[in-house]
């Protein structure tokens, strides 16, 4: 007993150190992964106010860019409405026809917390469950991909940014339709890597890369970016560097897209696994 006490007295530093380090590593391993992010974000009520204030200040300095982006988006939406209006004149669709049920719901949100300089970047949206957000909804900025919601509290959501080592997205080259997998390497916030495109495919620098509809998260044909360079990697595939269309540093107003038929699609797919 005496020896034990001596031992404890002698190494008390080391013991406290190990205990504290143990707690930290425990937090690190449980609190930091993809799905548990929402737990810790939930506790962050105190820090949220400060975060929101910082974000407001920053957005003030970027008003010009923001208004420009919104104006552009407005213009493209007006064009779409125009086209749709024309179409409706000639086609006769019954609105209640179940085949033509709406598949995607759109809503807008504001980003109140964002980062681009970490290896696992997330951003926080100012809408949560009460405003109809839910996990696995797609987040887009203008017409280009920004991230996926990974956690929701009552009034806030946290989304995983494309700039996250854990982010994977099914993407294709618009000109020829070949698809591969898009991920971020953690190097710089303007570029992501598109892999799994076979080497017999022809494409060029500047070709558009867009989403496929395969994941049931993103609608088909959303802009991701353009091919900025490519090289043959060891195997039979290309390693394509994609210049992202979204400027993550200026992310401010985003659209959130929910897929109403996601459940149906996933249930059906699971039957064949």
């Amino acid at each position: 007993m005496r020896n034990l006490l001596n031992f404890l007295a002698k190494y008390n530093n080391l013991i406290i150190f190990l205990i504290l380090e143990g707690i930290a590593v425990y937090l690190l391993s449980t609190g930091n992964n993809y799905h548990n992010t929402r737990v810790i974000r939930g506790i962050r009520g105190v820090t949220r106010g400060i975060e929101e204030r910082v974000s407001n200040t920053r957005s003030y300095f970027r008003l010009r860019d923001i208004s420009q982006a919104l104006a552009l988006e407005n213009a493209s939406l007006k064009n779409t409405i125009e086209q749709l209006g024309k179409k409706e004149d000639v086609t006769l669709l019954s609105v209640s026809d179940t085949v033509y049920h709406q598949q995607y719901v759109y809503s807008s949100a504001r980003i109140i917390g964002n980062s681009v300089n970490r290896q696992k970047n997330f951003f926080t949206l100012n809408k949560g469950k009460r405003q109809g957000m839910s996990v696995d909804m797609a987040v887009t900025s203008g017409n280009s991909v920004a991230g996926v919601i990974v956690g929701c509290s009552d009034n806030y959501s946290v989304a995983m940014s494309v700039l996250n080592l854990d982010f994977k997205l099914s993407a294709r080259i618009r000109s020829n339709g070949y698809f591969g997998s898009l991920s971020w390497e953690g190097k710089d916030w303007n570029h992501a890597i598109l892999s799994e495109i076979p080497q017999h495919v022809t494409f060029g620098v500047g070709d558009t890369v867009e989403t496929t509809g395969y994941s049931a998260i993103f609608p088909e044909g959303l802009l991701i970016g353009t091919v900025s360079s490519f090289e043959k990697s060891g195997s039979d595939f290309y390693r394509i560097e994609v210049a992202l269309a979204t400027d993550f540093r200026k992310l401010r107003f985003v659209s959130v897209i929910g897929n109403l038929k996601k459940k149906e699609q996933i249930e059906l797919e699971n039957q064949f696994k």
Partner: protein
Amino acid sequence: MINRILRFTVIFVLLLLLQVLLFNNIEFSGYVNPFVYIMFILLLPVEIPSWLLLILSFATGLIIDFFTGTPGMHCASTVLAGFLRPYVLRIISPRDGYEPGADPSMVIYGFRWFLIYASIIVLVHHIALFYLEVFRFADFFRTLVRVLLSSLFSVTFILLLEFIRKGK
């Protein structure tokens, strides 16, 4: 004593605000993320009991973690820095030892001493932090570049703050 606690509380709050409001928002290529809050651990008195130092390190890390949304990451690296601090102080102790009751500051022990002291602790902290962040050894050297660049900036800012403190 009360005076001292008050002074360190003020330093703590100031560093925290500086980190959260300013340095966490630096978006410079992703390679440079200075973490100056570690300066709080540097400035604590030399004869502080180790257990208190460790607990203060833990608390500091935890608070920063709450702001960055990375539970445990800053905690683990700050506790490591706090744990190694007494050993670092012993290794680089000046010829006639530390003056009783003095803080490890630039005014008392000189620029060179403080530079070495700050560099070692910051480097330890940043190495732990950045490798915990990526949590893999792929791209080892790129992470190392991030560590070195960020450390350079952190130490620079810490020296700058220390000069400002000295001027007061």
